[in-house]
Homo-oligomer: 215 residues x 2
Amino acid sequence: MQKGNTRISMAVIRRLPKYRRYLSELLDKDIHRISSKELSKIIGFTASQIRQDLNNFGGFGQQGYGYNVEELHSAIGKILGLDHSYNTVIVGAGNIGQAIANYTNFEKAGFKPTAMFEINPKLIGLKIRDIEIMDADLLGTYIKEKNINIGIICTSKEKAQDVANVMVESGIQGIWNFAPTDLQVPEHVVLETVHLSESLYTLSYLLKHKREEED
Amino acid sequence: MQKGNTRISMAVIRRLPKYRRYLSELLDKDIHRISSKELSKIIGFTASQIRQDLNNFGGFGQQGYGYNVEELHSAIGKILGLDHSYNTVIVGAGNIGQAIANYTNFEKAGFKPTAMFEINPKLIGLKIRDIEIMDADLLGTYIKEKNINIGIICTSKEKAQDVANVMVESGIQGIWNFAPTDLQVPEHVVLETVHLSESLYTLSYLLKHKREEED
């Protein structure tokens, strides 16, 4: 972390996509103005929490008038960097890799997968939608030449660190990791890991302990 | 939340799968004893945090001897409820649903998908591995008759709440939700949601703000 900037806590940052999602849903329902109290009711945070969170970014809304939903939605999108588009590559064309490649909503949000990479020769040369599956040996060169911003790792945990190393050496800015392992990357690279099994095992814990309470 | 039980904080619960994952990796490397200091180094929590976390469950390890890796791994597995097996169903045979159905590691951990459900007639009757894709209209009856514990929702956000309602009415105990929406379920049902886009947008935020710092 660097000095000279106001640091926003990760807890606040992780709430921003949720605000944006609820605001999208309001726009879908043609609701264009909302009080922090009403927003609080649907999103489940207190009104004071919402005001505090948004004050981190200069504050929005007018006393007594509430928030302009469209403005707030667009402002949070900008804060999240969703007014940019990013070139991404997916490494690993297995189940999760294919699901991400097929999921067009990420592309609509500005995260365009330009290629996939695989070590399995049976998959190399195939396409998922218009995304070509290339030989994993070409990953480093491709990242450099095509100015790729984000690498999405969907390999086994055994291969994931090697893939991350190639990405880092080739100048990647961010890694979105689905391999069930904690990767080591230098501080200038942003790493975000989705641990699906941790989520499932948390569910399992809560199920078990609910059952014990009921016994 | 109910009375009469020691409440473990969600933060501790969410760390348990991570402990178990690191302990698995140690076993893979044939390491059978580890001090809290060494464990701290590889897992990235302080030694005192580790001792505190594990003390919630009665404590493990002996002063000066460290932890028996196998015992601790198995104890955490039990705490997480991974010594049970669970019958699961997957609703939605799109990208994520198919990826979950194909991902055999969850099945090995005791979460066995016994059927998938779809509204798309082109998919009904097909199989993913040995898991049949059935008509979504049969979901409620199936959950009741087959004693299904966990429902995995991989539908669009528009359909997800209706699916959750059917699951709840049919006696489901837990829901693992991949639809990008916050579902409403009664308190006796455990809900765990994986918000993939929130993870990606957090990555995007961190990328954008890192870039600004560097400018």
